[in-house]
Symmetry: C4
Subunit: 236 residues, 4 copies
Amino acid sequence: MNREAIIQGMKERVFAANLALPEAGLVKLTWGNASEINRELGVIVIKPSGVPYKTMKAADMVVTDLAGNLLAEGLNSSSDLPTHVVLYQHFEKVNAVIHTHSKHAVMWAQAGRDIPAYGTTHADTFYGAVPCTRQLTVAEVERAYEMETGKVIVETFNDRQLDPLAIPAVIVRGHGPFTWGETLAKAVDNSIVLDEVAEMAYMNEIIQPHCETIPQYLLDKHYFRKHGPGAYYGQK
Amino acid sequence: MNREAIIQGMKERVFAANLALPEAGLVKLTWGNASEINRELGVIVIKPSGVPYKTMKAADMVVTDLAGNLLAEGLNSSSDLPTHVVLYQHFEKVNAVIHTHSKHAVMWAQAGRDIPAYGTTHADTFYGAVPCTRQLTVAEVERAYEMETGKVIVETFNDRQLDPLAIPAVIVRGHGPFTWGETLAKAVDNSIVLDEVAEMAYMNEIIQPHCETIPQYLLDKHYFRKHGPGAYYGQK
Amino acid sequence: MNREAIIQGMKERVFAANLALPEAGLVKLTWGNASEINRELGVIVIKPSGVPYKTMKAADMVVTDLAGNLLAEGLNSSSDLPTHVVLYQHFEKVNAVIHTHSKHAVMWAQAGRDIPAYGTTHADTFYGAVPCTRQLTVAEVERAYEMETGKVIVETFNDRQLDPLAIPAVIVRGHGPFTWGETLAKAVDNSIVLDEVAEMAYMNEIIQPHCETIPQYLLDKHYFRKHGPGAYYGQK
Amino acid sequence: MNREAIIQGMKERVFAANLALPEAGLVKLTWGNASEINRELGVIVIKPSGVPYKTMKAADMVVTDLAGNLLAEGLNSSSDLPTHVVLYQHFEKVNAVIHTHSKHAVMWAQAGRDIPAYGTTHADTFYGAVPCTRQLTVAEVERAYEMETGKVIVETFNDRQLDPLAIPAVIVRGHGPFTWGETLAKAVDNSIVLDEVAEMAYMNEIIQPHCETIPQYLLDKHYFRKHGPGAYYGQK
């Protein structure tokens, strides 16, 4: 397939993913953005900034190089592009990134807390608590806010020695969630799961103030029946 | 009716029930499975594992014998099939089983608590609290997780001397709900009711920390006006 | 208009009102019933018992006399008919009655508490707290449950000296809401408002444990700008 | 464009905005009103009072002068018109006003509390806490309730030295939200954002009793990347 056809396919997937987010109740107004990378081709395709979903077209998707430089005249990219770029640079197996303000994940971000793994719904997708980053400093916010947002996510995964494919989501302190995946379809699913487990965990903390997290052996069982060489969920 | 026609009817009902669950807001992504048994014919029909609801067809439903062995080449069955098999083996009047991760029922499962009978909405369908199983042990999870899930449900009903038709639902500790019924239509209804009363009970516990459960005579009245020889709800 | 045409009109309105309730999110499965009375004609029209909303037709509506006796062969009436009959007997200006299990109103019923008037949304429709009845006794439940449900509602309004048109709703302890109105359209609206203010009051009690109710002069202002001789809301 | 054509355009926008509110889940029954002003032309266009959304037409929108006097025979204007008039008189750059009873904003109004700025979702639209007015006095309510509602909003912004364009929303004590904007489209968006952040803040206060508000430098960053001369969000 030639370069144009590949980029065209990326635009259509990125467009569809951006529409899937409000449809799943995760995005209001223009509060979300999805992107996909093709490292061999050296391109990232991302949603344009602030374009209403009702009028947005696949052709409006913005194409950049791996550093986030626009490759053609057109619409402005999502203002969160630098965050996506940093994640792609450091999370080498990640091919798609999504940002939303889905309300339950945002609520945990505002509370500044990790989302605990309270059950198998969480364990099916996230191998442990979904981490919340530290607050960005004044200097970071003033210097290059969106890029520093990416860096604090990477710092969080490095400091805690987390595998971004085993826990394909983060919540940025005071802001909201970023999710990712090996494919855009998986990243969309991860956004859906994240908000669902964020809501369940919220309810659990209310009703059971000292709720226990899922035991490690059950976390292992559920995560590994869906992921890795021993997985037996789904079709071959 | 010949065997093929009966199985075809089962497939269509199982397919429709699986679609009814996300429509009722009880299932996201592929998190649910419904099955039906025909004991005379010796077959169980169940949803395939991990197939998106948008592309799933009635013909994709998987047919097994009463031990859960596939009767034909095709898609993998739901990974929860062994749980269904155990329930069918021990709950002899049950002809349909459903598993979901509906959020309010899951929340109670994560809290590790029975869902108390706080009102007549609960009593119309469940003759008492919906039980929560004990946590599975390491050995059980590692040995045969899905089969042991079925066994701990049966154990819960045996130990507490509960009638599975009078309380056609359970929540598995840390995991989520299973419901059942004499027919698949009833099992779907029971899944809907379960999540609704789980949500109501959640709200009650927040606003009224020492909320009283429904008195026994009112529980009796509501349950028996809909069930058993003295029932007078509905049409003949 | 002749008797048949009037009854036909009643059936169509009752049918439409019963469909409006699940559409407004107030009724799941078959948990609701609406009726209308024509005192001059001596008839009540009510939903049949336990008929799925998807297949129900206007012709299925059940016609009774003012004592609740069926006037023609056909489907069984809603099992709650005796409650409606008692309300019509004692609330003389009420021409329509509705029962639902809408979740927020049910939650207050399960908590056994009146719904406080916390704001103008409540005051626009209900002139004060929506009362919760006392628990029915064993004898009442065993004797004539549905009729006694009506009687305890009437008792509640009499004992507290409440005007059923000024507060066109009640919650029955452990059970759920009944609403009513001079017309069926108003009764439907009152069901919608009741669940909405029940949810708002629930949230208020969580976030503000000693939340103040609306001052009397503001309750008066909002109620009377919509009701009575000085009303100026809406069109003439 | 001539006067009639301009007014016709206003009617169509006001009509569309009024329909957008229930579609966004912010308005039930007839509980909302939107208006637009054209100061040069000396007209305000507002929703009529108490007309069901299903039958309302653009031609039903009511046209008044800048003091709120009807300019033609027709339907009664929204009873909240005097509130809109006062806001237009004092907030000179505001060209559209909206009132709803959206449930989460109402809940904060009933609690009598400002909505704190807990995160960037809030900061993207509101430059600080959304203020709650004081309770109106008996005299104010009895004198000219709707006009006094407008005056207490203006008083709140004056006393706290708030810029109505930087914080384009208020919650009136015991009542509910008013939002506004330079355009009607922005005012609709502000209503959507207000209820969303009201819900998020509600959840935060439950789970994190002493939740910190967003730091000033992050509030600045998010607000000013969308507003003012340094804004870089969206398209030119």
